[in-house]
Every structure is written in C-alpha cells, then in structure tokens.
C-alpha cells in the first residue's frame, strides 16, 4: 500500500514537474482572480472577513481546476488499467491522489498567499503565519479528500469539466464557511485575533467524515 502510493505520488509529481499542467494554471488563475476582485469589489485593500472571503473563494476555485485535471492522465493514457492490473490495494490510488492534490494546493498557496498580501490585503499577515498555516493545512486536507472523490466521480462521465465544478462547489460550502470564519480573525486591521477553535473543529470533522467516506466508496469508482 505504502509502496504503491509512493510510486503513484512520485509518478504524478514527476509528470507535473515535466508538463506543468496543474500548479502553474492554478496559480495564474488565482492571480487573475485577485485582480478581478480588486476591480469587482472596487477596493484597494481588504481586511477581516472580506479578505478571508476573497482568499477562500479564489483558492477554492483554483482547487477545482486541479480536481478536473487530477485523473485525466489515468483515464486517457490507461493509468487506471495499469494500476488495476497490479497486485496492490486500490485505496493506494486514493491516498496518492489526495496527497498529490494536497501538495499541489500547498504549492499554489506558497505563491498565491504572498501575492494576495501584496496585491489586496491591507493588514500585514506575517504575524499570524503559524495559525494561517494550520487553517490552510486543515482546509487543504478537506479540499484534497473531497476533490479526489469528485475528480474520480467526474472522470467517469463524458462532461467532467462541467460535473466536477457543479459537484465540488456545493460539497465544499461547509469547508468554505469554516475556513473563511477561521481565517478572518487573522487578517484584521487591528492585528490578528485568536482563531475560534470551533471552526478548526468543523474543519477537522469535515476532513474526518469525508476521509472515512472516501475510503469506503473509492474502490467502487475503479471497477468496471
């Protein structure tokens, strides 16, 4: 299981390094969205819950791009068949893909967050970096799990570019609520306030529920 997941993760990262199909696109999308937000809400800078909202809207939409791409190579280049022929646990594919999406999101945020701080954010976020990283990690985990599930659902269809976003966005609403509420105290004009623990708990619960669920049902998406 670990051997197979490791091989899959390494394979995906290598393909991504070579082709740059997901992360650069997600990052560019995020930057364009920040610019769009600047004009759409007509603000030079944002703070507090508005900042958290803008940030999470952007990140969630960028994540959807990654979800759509996640399984394309497996479907189009026979990766599913190649994997299914090997004597390994099928859950390895779920673990690997969720990890890859998690890493992609982390990579995007590594560049998108400084860009956000420079372009739009009023208060300096640097004082609250550890809390911010914690919220991002919990939220990314949820996005990765749900995204892998939705990506695998969408890849079964003939219209994955449509199905994945319309499925993923409503599914991520609880996550968006919790992530935005947890982030907004960190981005206040008058200095960061502590993160409300209950929103971290909601994020954790979300990760847990969908993680267990994905473990239970993912195999069925691979059969034929």
């Amino acid at each position: 299981m670990r051997r197979a997941a490791g091989a899959l993760i390494r394979k995906d990262l290598r393909v991504e390094l070579r082709t740059g199909e997901a992360v650069p696109a997600m990052l560019l999308f995020s930057l364009s969205t920040f610019v769009l937000f600047h004009f759409a809400i007509d603000r030079r800078s944002v703070e507090g819950d508005l900042a958290a909202g803008v940030l999470w809207m952007t990140l969630l939409f960028a994540a959807v791009l990654g979800m759509v791409r996640l399984f394309v190579a497996e479907r189009e280049q026979g990766g599913f068949d190649g994997f299914l022929l090997a004597p390994v646990d099928r859950t390895a594919l779920f673990v690997a893909k969720a990890t890859v999406l998690f890493l992609f999101l982390g990579a995007v945020e590594l560049a998108a967050l400084p860009a956000f701080a420079i372009l739009l954010l009023g208060p300096s976020p640097w004082g609250a970096v550890p809390e911010l990283v914690a919220v991002l990690a919990l939220a990314n985990l949820g996005i990765a799990v749900v995204g892998t599930l939705v990506g695998a659902l969408g890849i079964q269809t003939r219209a994955r570019e449509l199905i994945v976003p319309i499925l993923a966005l409503p599914l991520m609403i609880p996550l968006a609520i919790a992530a935005a509420r947890a982030t907004s105290p960190l981005l206040l004009e008058l200095g960061a306030e502590p993160v409300p623990g209950r929103w971290l708990a909601v994020l954790g619960l979300y990760d847990l529920v969908f993680g267990l669920l994905a473990f239970a049902v993912f195999d069925f998406l691979l059969e034929d």
């Binding site: 394979k11 994997f83 022929l85 004597p87």
Partner: protein
C-alpha cells in the same frame, strides 16, 4: 499455492458480458491448459477485447464463470492480479514519462526490482532511447515498451491484443522470447494476421457478434475457416 497450480490457465463456462442492453459476449466455454496458446479471431466488435478485459480482471463478467489461474473472477480477482500480463490495444503508459520511468513505476507497483526493467529495455533494443518521453517515440517503439511493461513481472498468463502491431520484423524477432511460445506462459492472443495467429496457437476461438462461432484445436482449423468469420 497448491491446488491452484494444477488448474488450467483459463477455464470459461458460458461466459457473457453486456454493455447495457448490447450483448458483447455470450456463451463462451473453453479450457486453456498452462503453457498453451489460445488464438482469438473475429471481426471488429465481435467481443475479442471484452473477453481479454474480463480475463485481465478489468471487467466483471455478467454471466457464466471465468476461472483464471485457478481463481474465480471477479470474486478472487485479487489473487490473480500480478500474475497476468496484459498487452492491450493502448500501451497503458504515461506519454510524458520516459520508457525507463514508466517501467520503473510499474516495477514498483508490482514489487519487481528496477534491474528487471533495464534488462527488458536492453532485450527489446530500447535501452538507447529509454530516457526520452514516450510522446517523442514512434508507435513501434512505444509498443516495444508496452511489451516490456506487460512481461515485467513474469506473468503466468499473457493476454495479447495484436502484440506485433507496428513492429518491424527485427523488433518482432526481439520480442519473441518475451511474448512468444518461448516465454513459457499461457497466452491468449488476439490477431488479425490469420496465418501467423494460427501458427502460434494450440486452440482457436472464433467470435461473431459476441458468440463463439468456431472453437477447435489449431491443427484442425484452416486459414479459410478463420477468414469465414470476417465475412
């Protein structure tokens, strides 16, 4: 594995599969001993690929029984995975990775040493171009890499869908020890080259509209009997 080792490579009874309301395969009954070769003939859409995918555990049968290497499908599919080599119509390789990376990836999935991948690349004459991404290779070269992938884990049953497609005679000679009779594995071979297919086979299955139209030892089948299937 005890008793399973004495079992035939493939034993089918009334095997059937439908896609929705379209019947792709029905009523296939046969037995293929270990080390023997079954040649499958039939026009496009006759059910050859469906049969191959069922044997590879990628498709579950809807009717009848399929026992592969002593394990009943689909229930015991886990027991035969890793003992079958599938050379499908598509190479099942990542186009953005090189031949070496692809094979090493599959070697890791199958728990095979990386040295085996190198040896195979050498054997099919691909060692020199093993570092190029597959998308820059010709179809014949890709096919050679795909053959390496199929035999990487030394399978006991080889499922071959037109294995020599796009291969020049030299390359065909190079892969013969891997996927030919010399490999020692039982083989299910789909071919459109009637003479060559018959020469390789011990048993011949002809499919028409998903149903067996011909099932006989290869010695008793003439090339014209097979051509009749395509009419």
């Amino acid at each position: 594995m005890g008793a399973a080792d004495g079992a035939p490579a493939v034993a089918l009874r009334d095997l059937g599969r439908a896609y929705g309301e379209r019947v792709a395969l029905a009523g296939v009954t046969l037995e293929l001993p270990r080390g023997a070769t079954l040649a499958v003939f039939g026009a496009n859409g006759a059910g050859k690929t469906t049969l191959l995918r069922i044997l590879a555990t990628l498709l579950r049968p809807h009717a009848g029984e399929a026992v592969v290497l002593g394990s009943a499908l689909p229930r015991e599919g886990w027991a035969v995975r890793g003992r079958i080599g599938l050379l499908a119509h598509e190479p099942l390789l990542y186009r953005d990775l090189s031949a070496r990376e692809n094979l090493r990836f599959h070697a890791r999935l199958h728990g095979v040493a990386a040295g085996r991948a190198e040896a195979l690349l050498e054997a099919v004459g691909m060692a020199r171009r093993a570092a190029e991404p597959l998308r820059s290779l010709s179809r014949g070269m890709t096919q050679r890499v795909a053959i390496c992938r199929a035999v990487l884990h030394e399978p006991e049953l080889l499922l071959l869908d037109e294995p020599l497609a796009n291969l020049d005679p030299g390359a065909a000679g190079a892969v013969a020890p891997l996927i030919g009779r010399a490999s020692g594995a039982a083989r299910v071979l789909i071919s459109h080259d009637v003479e060559q297919g018959l020469a390789e086979a011990d048993l011949v299955l002809g499919l028409r509209g998903g149903r067996p139209a011909l099932l006989a030892p290869a010695a008793a089948v003439g090339a014209d009997d097979v051509r009749e299937l395509y009419r």
